[in-house]
């Protein structure tokens, strides 16, 4: 095999790539388009101005990272609701099992992916922070 042809072929390939459109995304100024089924930050679905969650404990049970803390409470209509609903984002592995397990479609995952923070306690998302933003 002569050693020149592969080099020429390689040079041809690099030259053709020179004229391709770069795939780079200039991140902070250019934003990526998040896929429809992307699993980012969680959000609690709201219906009639309150969270749909009925505190059935299926999501903390199925959670493989054990990052969801739920405490049930009773409201004025004697209905069960989540008095406390916290997700520890430092432990969450964004598997989406909580969404799958939920019988009342109370939790979903959004396209939000910039979850960096300065303090550890800021990574624990309380119910107020998780409620979906309309």
């Amino acid at each position: 095999m002569n050693p020149i042809t592969p080099i020429i072929n390689g040079l041809k390939i690099t030259l053709s790539h020179l004229f391709k459109k770069p795939v780079t995304l200039q991140y902070p100024t250019e934003r990526p388009k998040v896929a429809q089924r992307f699993r980012g930050l969680h959000a609690l679905n709201v219906s009639h101005n309150k969270a749909k969650c009925v505190a059935c404990y299926l999501c903390p049970t199925v959670c493989p990272a054990k990052c969801i803390t739920v405490e049930a409470g009773e409201d004025a209509n004697h209905d069960k609701y989540a008095a406390k609903y916290e997700i520890d984002m430092l432990r969450c592995i964004f598997c989406g099992y909580c969404v799958e397990a939920c019988p009342v479609d109370a939790i979903k995952m959004t396209g939000e992916f910039e979850l960096a923070n300065y303090r550890r306690q800021d990574f624990i998302y309380t119910k107020e922070r998780l409620l979906e933003k309309k």
């Binding site: 080099i7 390689g10 040079l11 390939i13 690099t14 030259l15 790539h17 020179l18 391709k20 459109k21 770069p22 795939v23 780079t24 200039q26």
Partner: protein, 355 residues
């Protein structure tokens, strides 16, 4: 031009200083922006963008890099031999720049009634209209480019570190083996030109409307000279002396700050020099169409040729991985050396029958 110093008109000295400054600043700027161009070109060849943030499309990147390197801490290892350690970057850098003294970058231009040949080490005899330059210009360039290896070996030795030493040893072995083939490759050009003066060599290539280039008569020699030059200046695919994966950073492992930058400036300045030399010896130097009518086109053609060759260097870097050490030596001694010797013999035989 009344005033004369040492029998030469004042204008001679002014022109000389101007030429030195222009050539030096040209090389310096080219070196700075070669780093930028390289990152951009390789970036786009890898379907990336390269530097984009410093200035418009990253145009201020070389300046930012330079300023950053200036403010880095200057470290001299405690076990290093200080004097050699400090002088090594200078020894690497200076030969890279002084090589430009003999490279003609244009024809004769006339400024205020005084003729100036565009080559630093040259002088025009007004009476006969002949340009005199260093008549062993190519030997001078070969001598200077082999001086460059001292800087690298000294850096490797003075650092007193095993990686640096290995890098330095590799560099010396590589440079010596490839200099041989590079030298022999240009011998065939001398056989055609019959002179070592670069100005003469360029003038001889002005035939056929500025396209009587030696690359058409000596394609093999041009090809081999360019490859050997790449190896001599430690460019990829022959960048073994600073193979990051094996030797950390080779001979410049222990260097920091501006001393480190000087090695890189030397590398890029050597690239400019080698491309300029290849352009001069094989691509007709500053020759091109219409240079006789418009003398200022000469430098334009020359710079264009140098930049095209530098683009080829970067293109090769984006394409080829590094050679293994035994492959490098095999290529140098068993392929390029016999080929260049054969080329000389063939040139001799063909030249004998043609004349």
């Amino acid at each position: 031009m009344g005033i004369e110093i040492l029998g030469l008109p004042m204008m001679y000295y002014i022109a000389m200083v101007a030429k030195v400054l222009v050539a030096f600043i040209f090389v310096l700027l080219t070196v700075a922006y070669a780093t930028y161009a390289e990152r951009k070109i390789i970036g786009h060849m890898q379907v990336r963008l390269g530097p984009m943030r410093t200035g418009w499309h990253g145009l201020l990147q070389p300046i930012a890099d330079g300023v950053k390197l200036f403010f880095k801490e200057e470290i001299v290892p405690s076990q290093a031999s200080t004097f050699a350690f400090l002088i090594a970057p200078l020894i690497a850098l200076i030969p890279a720049f002084i090589t430009f003294a003999v490279i003609p970058f244009g024809g004769v231009i006339e400024v205020a009634g005084y003729k100036i040949p565009l080559q630093i080490a040259s002088y025009i005899d007004v009476a006969s209209g002949k340009v005199y330059d260093v008549n062993v210009g190519v030997l001078y360039i070969l001598a200077m480019s082999s001086l460059g290896v001292y800087g690298i070996v000294l850096a490797g030795w003075a650092s007193n570190s095993k990686y640096s030493l290995l890098g330095g040893l590799r560099a010396s072995a590589q440079m010596i083996s490839y200099e041989l083939s590079a030298g022999l490759a240009i011998v065939s050009v001398f056989m055609l030109s019959g002179t070592l003066s670069l100005n003469e060599i360029v003038t001889q290539q002005s035939a056929m409307g500025g396209f009587g280039w030696y690359v058409f008569k000596q394609p093999l020699a041009a090809f081999m000279f360019f490859i050997c030059s790449l190896a001599e200046i430690n460019r990829t695919p022959f960048d073994l002396p600073e193979a990051e994966t094996e030797l950390v950073s080779g001979f410049c492992t222990e260097y920091s700050s501006m001393k480190y930058a000087m090695f890189f400036m030397a590398e890029y300045a050597n690239m400019v020099t080698v491309c300029a030399l290849t352009a001069t010896l094989f691509l007709g130097g500053w020759n091109g169409p219409l240079t006789a009518e418009v003398p200022l086109l000469g430098p334009v053609y020359f710079v264009a040729k140098v930049y095209i060759l530098m683009f080829v260097c970067m293109w090769i870097r984006a394409t080829l991985p590094r050679y293994r050490y035994d492959q490098l030596m095999h290529l140098g001694w068993k392929v390029l050396l016999p080929l260049s010797l054969l080329n000389i013999v063939a040139t001799g035989i063909i030249g004998y029958f043609i004349n």
